[in-house]
């Protein structure tokens, strides 16, 4: 056992080292907290919905009745409502969003593009509940009198498109969702398109291609997987969007069979019934719905991030 030499200049070091270590641990704990929240969230949703999975098994996913009186629960109408409303949103938002991203990054001069980008970012900042309010009192009556009436009368012979129009329902929810996911699709698609090397464009231009041919034959193929990622991120946002959808989708309990039917998404079902549900199998089933939504959105997010990373690198997107 030798005693360590104690010199004043050495004694000064450990003090700094201790606070260094303490600070490093504080930052590490904070970072772990973020990861822990995600893990705990998944565990907690699984744990709180265990009763439902034990009672109905995977049949819960395919079940079509939701009857608190008989204590029979099934998720299918809400899964279908979620997928259909998001599908409508994607069909509307993908072409518009992609074209806008092309316009902003390939066609417009910075003087035109900058204010437009600014406004699209502002669109993303509007709270969901404000969209919902606008949807109920402005958009739904407007769509009912114009677009819905037109589709129903001219295209009504196609099975899914006919039926009475209410304004409130699946279609309006899809339109609101499309508006809400546009900024996501535009900003990430723009990011991806911007990361396509200029040499690709120049090579096409040198071959005598028009600007549009450069975009479709050089830029878009290069950026394809990233653009798919942008659309999937938009889809992820649409699937989980709650307030605006809850306010305009109506309160249909059956599986929607028409474009204008009232329906429920998973998120809107939870939002409207969770507080009145009795603790037990009913809350458990609502949380099980939430777990299904969590699995879908996390899965989509992972796939989308990987696709965007492939083109724009790990920092791209957001």
């Amino acid at each position: 056992m030798t005693t360590l030499p104690s010199a004043p200049w050495l004694a000064a070091r450990p003090v700094g080292r201790t606070s260094d270590r303490a600070f490093r641990w504080a930052t590490r704990l904070a970072a772990l907290a973020v990861v822990a929240v995600l893990v705990l969230l998944a565990i907690q949703l699984l744990d709180s919905s265990l009763l439902t999975w034990q009672t109905f098994g995977l049949g819960f996913i395919g079940g079509t009745t939701w009857d608190p009186v008989q204590a029979v629960y099934g998720a299918l109408p809400y899964i279908v409502g979620t997928l259909l409303s998001s599908l409508i949103a994607l069909v509307l938002a993908t072409p518009i969003g992609l074209l806008t991203a092309i316009f902003l990054s390939e066609v417009a001069s910075p003087r035109v593009a900058t204010p437009l980008i600014f406004m699209i970012e502002l669109l993303a900042a509007i709270p969901s509940v404000v969209f919902g309010l606008w949807g109920v009192f402005v958009l739904a009556p407007f769509l009912r009198g114009t677009v819905e009436a037109w589709i129903s009368s001219t295209l009504g012979f196609i099975p899914f498109l006919g039926g009475p129009t209410f304004g409130i329902g699946l279609f309006t929810a899809g339109v609101i969702l499309a508006i809400m996911i546009l900024p996501t699709i535009v900003s990430i698609a723009r990011e991806v398109i911007r990361s396509v090397p200029g040499s690709q464009r120049e090579a096409m231009l040198a071959l005598g291609a028009t600007r549009w041919e450069v975009i479709t034959k050089a830029v878009l193929p290069y950026a394809r997987s990233g653009i798919v990622g942008a659309v999937i991120l938009g889809l992820g946002r649409a699937l989980g969007e709650t307030m605006a959808v809850t306010m305009v989708i109506g309160n249909g309990q059956a599986i929607p069979t028409h474009l204008f039917d009232q329906a429920q998404t998973i998120a809107s079902k939870i939002a409207t019934t969770f507080n009145e549900a009795t603790i037990g199998i009913q809350t458990s089933s609502l949380i099980a719905l939430g777990l299904i939504l969590l699995v879908i959105t996390i899965g989509l997010n992972v796939v989308a991030r990987l696709l965007v990373w492939r083109v724009a690198g790990p920092t791209g997107g957001e």
Binding site: A30, I96, I120, I126, F137, G208, T297, L300, T315
Partner: protein, 295 residues
């Protein structure tokens, strides 16, 4: 540069005009179409701003700002909601800022590349988790055990939403701090933690504050995570975090669903107040960061 590009563009167009009329036509048509798409993106923004402003201003009055909510279309105002938002959002920020900023510091300054990637990924996924599920998550451990909806749970739910956002922006800003600053400070014998806090974070502070402000604006507009936590309340609740509390987004949601004209008008008024706050923060922050970028 710009002039050259324009010149190149011109001559390219001239060449194309000779090369093939149809191709030029498609080119021009699609470019116009892409312009139209961009305009279509802006229309909803204009429509929402227009209606919220017109119907909102008509509904904003002294009663809305100073009276608590009352039942079933008999007057009252949004005071309980305004005060609730003013309490829950700052409290959430108080929890989320240290976690978000420290976590951002960790993944950029300390963590190994692999752990940084895992944490970044988790944060991105957490940002993508529907906010209503965060409400349920907080419900299961801060509401259910006490059988009491409470404002504290609402704040925690908002903090869960804010912290990954703050973390990611902090990291992005730290990346812009030149490594030479760190090295200079370390070479002077300043300990690592002091270097990080007084030099690196100090330099990046404006950007970090920007991220925090955007996260606050986002949290102020969140409704879904509060539904099963803070619940909402007609009573003015100042300071009692163990009781339900109202918030502006909850107020809008509840009043939009009422069958009474007056309640609906109050929802528009509250939406106007909320939108003014959210958009002011966003415009200021973005104008400022645009300004620094061009300098």
């Amino acid at each position: 540069m710009a002039i050259q590009a324009v010149a190149a563009n011109r001559s390219a167009t001239l060449l194309q005009a000779k090369a093939g009329g149809r191709r030029t036509l498609v080119d021009r048509a699609m470019r116009y179409l892409s312009f139209v798409a961009a305009i279509v993106c802006i229309i909803p923004l204009a429509a929402v701003l227009f209606f919220v402003t017109v119907r909102g201003i008509a509904a904003v009055n002294i009663d809305l700002l100073t009276k608590p909510a009352r039942a079933l279309g008999v007057g009252g105002g949004a005071l309980s909601a305004i005060l609730g938002t003013l309490q829950m959002v700052p409290l959430a920020a108080l929890m989320a800022i240290p976690i978000g900023v420290l976590a951002g510091i960790y993944i950029h300054e300390y963590g190994s590349a692999r752990s940084a990637r895992v944490i970044r990924f988790a944060a991105d996924v957490l940002v993508g988790v529907p906010s209503i599920l965060i409400g349920i998550f907080v419900f299961t451990f801060l509401v259910l055990p006490f059988r009491q909806y409470n404002a504290f749970a609402g704040s925690v739910a908002l903090a869960v939403i804010m912290s990954p956002v703050i973390m990611r922006t902090t990291e992005e800003v730290l990346k812009l701090v030149p490594g030479t600053l760190r090295e200079a400070s370390l070479a002077l014998g300043v300990p690592r933690w002091r270097t990080t806090l007084s030099i690196v974070v100090r330099t990046a502070l404006p950007g970090i504050l920007t991220g925090i402000m955007l996260a606050v604006a986002r949290a102020a507009g969140e409704t879904a995570p509060l539904l099963f936590t803070a619940l909402g309340s007609r009573l003015v609740n100042v300071g009692d975090l163990t009781k339900p509390m109202d918030a502006l987004p909850l107020f809008i949601y509840v009043n939009a669903r009422q069958p009474f004209e007056l309640q609906n008008e109050q929802a528009w008024g509250a939406a106007f107040l909320l939108l003014v706050f959210v958009l002011t923060v966003n415009v200021l922050v973005r104008l400022r960061s645009a300004g620094t970028r061009t300098q």
